[in-house]
């Protein structure tokens, strides 16, 4: 590699490594028998997945009446969970696409796992609008296709339909991006495997050989996919925010929503990446690849986006007051001091106050603080969506229809069940594919490694420049 790298750059791969060491370290988790921690985690998520299947079946069998919704509050946990999961997915695309365009080398340690997280999070998100349709078997009506009912088309002017297009495009493009990045690494696994595993990896690696021309096209494809995923990821949460912003409900009808939602999405997504990475690097023994420097970089993104979100909350309050419009003022007074005041203060504390401790370098580089705060932030971001959705609906135009919402056990089961689904998928992924992008890590070894020990190693013992 002949790129100039400033010597002050952090070391991204620790320990003395050769290319072969990297292959060994990163492929071995897929070859060894699962550890006890893995089996415990897997059983637990499988149990929650079973709960999820039960709750979905129950809801579809009995109907949406099994949820705590009523005529006033007709959207609550379902859409909260939907927006929460979609938001989590955004960090994966941000790491893999936007950081690729910005040439941030630290992304190579975490991009693969983060992209996987995106895909599983979008799968979880997609469940909620589908189940809320009630008649799940008619869900395909949302797509425009020539049909025998006229043909009757969906309303292309509706943000809910834009959402259908945005989410399905987002899911399929993320999947292509992730899988194309995975193909060379699956070939590495294939070339070490034997017997049945070899057959499977031969199928899934599509006949990759590592030809120079293929690498060139692969890099070109990755770059363009990153280029189009960047506006895509911004568009997805913008469109999700349009679900609210294009309505005429005070408290929803605000132009600040798109940037505020996107910042919040990146914020919560990075928190979830931290939760996953802290566990993954420990359980799979990848501390030399997902280093404290990676964790610190992500904590910096968290403190930035958390502060943007905080500014957005305050701007919202200021503009409501400044508008001089009593309905808008009431909506925000109600949001802060109304019946759901505890969720507002929970949100403020978790999202705005708690990440500020990351201004301290010591805390930014502490694994325990990172893990603890990543969970606090995820709770806070869930509260944010709940605050926006339920509080606003609970106090509508007509005081006689004001109401209160409580989730039923089925709704709680659905939400915790998607957590089970998410971790179930993620744990399987850690067993079948390399969690860290092998080829990409090899390509930065000489410029960002601690000490490259292969041939042509820098004799000073510092391969950092």
């Amino acid at each position: 590699m002949s790129q100039a790298v400033a010597p002050v750059r952090h070391i991204l791969i620790e320990g003395n490594k050769s290319y072969h060491n990297i292959t060994e370290d990163l492929v071995s988790p897929t070859e060894k028998a699962p550890s006890r921690e893995w089996i415990i985690a897997f059983s637990l998520s499988a149990a929650f997945l079973a709960l999820y299947v039960f709750c979905v079946t129950w809801t579809i069998w009995k109907g949406i009446g099994e949820w705590g919704l009523n005529r006033t509050i007709n959207w609550a946990w379902d859409i909260t969970n939907f927006v929460w999961w979609i938001g989590i997915g955004h960090a994966g695309t941000l790491i893999s696409a936007i950081l690729l365009l910005f040439r941030q080398r630290w992304r190579t340690g975490v991009n693969r796992a983060a992209e996987a997280m995106t895909i599983f999070a979008v799968i979880c998100a997609g469940q909620f609008p589908l189940i809320h349709m009630g008649r799940l078997w008619l869900a395909f009506f949302i797509f425009p296709f020539p049909n025998s009912r006229g043909p009757l088309w969906p309303n292309f002017n509706s943000p809910l339909l834009w959402d259908v297009f945005a989410i399905s495009t987002y899911f399929s493009v993320s999947l292509l991006f992730w899988y194309t990045g995975l193909v060379p690494d699956l070939a590495t696994v294939r070339d070490r495997a034997k017997g049945f595993r070899k057959k499977m990896y031969t199928i899934f690696s599509f006949g990759w050989t590592g030809s120079a021309k293929h690498w060139q096209r692969w890099e070109s494809l990755s770059l363009i996919l990153a280029g189009i995923s960047t506006p895509l990821v911004l568009s997805v949460h913008t469109i999700v925010s349009f679900d609210f912003a294009t309505s005429v409900i005070p408290g929803w009808h605000t132009t600040i929503f798109p940037p505020y939602f996107v910042a919040g999405a990146v914020f919560s997504g990075f928190a979830m990446v931290q939760t996953l990475m802290v566990i993954t690097r420990k359980v799979l023994n990848l501390k030399e690849y997902i280093t404290i420097n990676h964790i610190e970089s992500m904590n910096k993104v968290i403190v930035l986006t958390g502060t943007i979100v905080g500014v957005a909350y305050l701007t919202e309050l200021f503009i409501a007051w400044y508008s001089g419009y009593i309905y808008e003022q009431f909506a925000f007074y109600n949001r802060v001091f109304g019946i759901y005041w505890w969720s507002y203060f929970g949100m403020m504390f978790c999202n705005v106050v708690s990440p500020q401790v990351f201004w301290s370098r010591k805390i930014r580089r502490s694994v325990w603080w990172t893990f603890f705060l990543s969970i606090v932030i995820n709770i806070g971001m869930w509260f944010e969506r709940f605050v926006i959705i339920a509080t606003t609906l609970a106090r509508d135009y007509l005081p006689s229809s004001w109401s209160y919402y409580r989730p039923t056990m089925i709704e709680i089961g659905l939400f915790t069940g998607t957590l089970g689904l998410f971790f179930f998928c993620y744990l399987i992924f850690t067993r079948v594919a390399p969690v860290v992008a092998i080829a990409e890590v090899k390509s930065i070894l000489k410029v960002a490694g601690n000490q490259f020990i292969g041939k042509n190693a820098n004799k000073n013992g510092n391969g950092n420049h």
Partner: protein, 176 residues
């Protein structure tokens, strides 16, 4: 691709700098390299190997343009010709409301089109039998391969000499 098998003489290098030096020598001597195989994308290899820049991104633009046109025209046709519906007194042909879906269709077509093209031109699909010269190429070896199916004895010696000169760690022959 099911072409007949070729006899391939290949050398393995331990480092990408050795590989680049070898490829430089080969192109200076006008040798006909069949392929260069590496475990990761080696930067700066393409110009020495004489590979032209990939044209995949032009196709990405074309696919995206097709997607944008398709999405926009379908929505326009549905709402002005096939089944016009009045929503809140807005015009039938409400162009700003079509922008989000048009954008999503652009991205969708471009991504799928490019990815399918990529796998097709590389001859890669599930079930393709990989032509593996050496299983360590996806690990830590850098390979230069020559097609020697119809090579004369002199040519073979020349290639072997080249490998020796460029300090290849191993030289092997294989039918693929």
């Amino acid at each position: 691709m099911a072409d007949q098998s070729n006899k391939v003489l290949y050398g393995l290098y331990n480092d990408e700098e050795d590989l680049k030096a070898a490829v430089k020598t080969a192109s200076a001597e006008h040798m006909d390299i069949m392929d260069v195989l590496t475990p990761f994308p080696v930067h700066g290899l393409d110009p020495i190997l004489g590979l032209k820049e990939s044209r995949l991104h032009y196709l990405g633009f074309i696919y995206g343009a097709i997607g944008a046109l398709f999405g926009f025209l379908v929505m326009s046709w549905v709402f002005t010709r096939d089944w016009p519906i009045m929503f809140g007194g807005k015009p039938y042909w409400s162009v700003p409301a079509f922008i989000p879906i048009t954008f999503e269709m652009t991205v969708l077509f471009s991504a799928w089109g490019m990815t399918i093209t990529f796998y097709t031109i590389c001859g890669m699909w599930p079930g393709v039998k990989p032509k593996i010269l050496d299983e360590r190429i996806t690990d830590d070896k850098f390979c230069v391969a020559f097609n020697v199916t119809n090579a004369s004895k002199d040519e073979l010696e020349g290639i072997k000499g080249f490998f020796k000169k460029t300090k290849a760690a191993e030289v092997n022959e294989k039918m693929i």
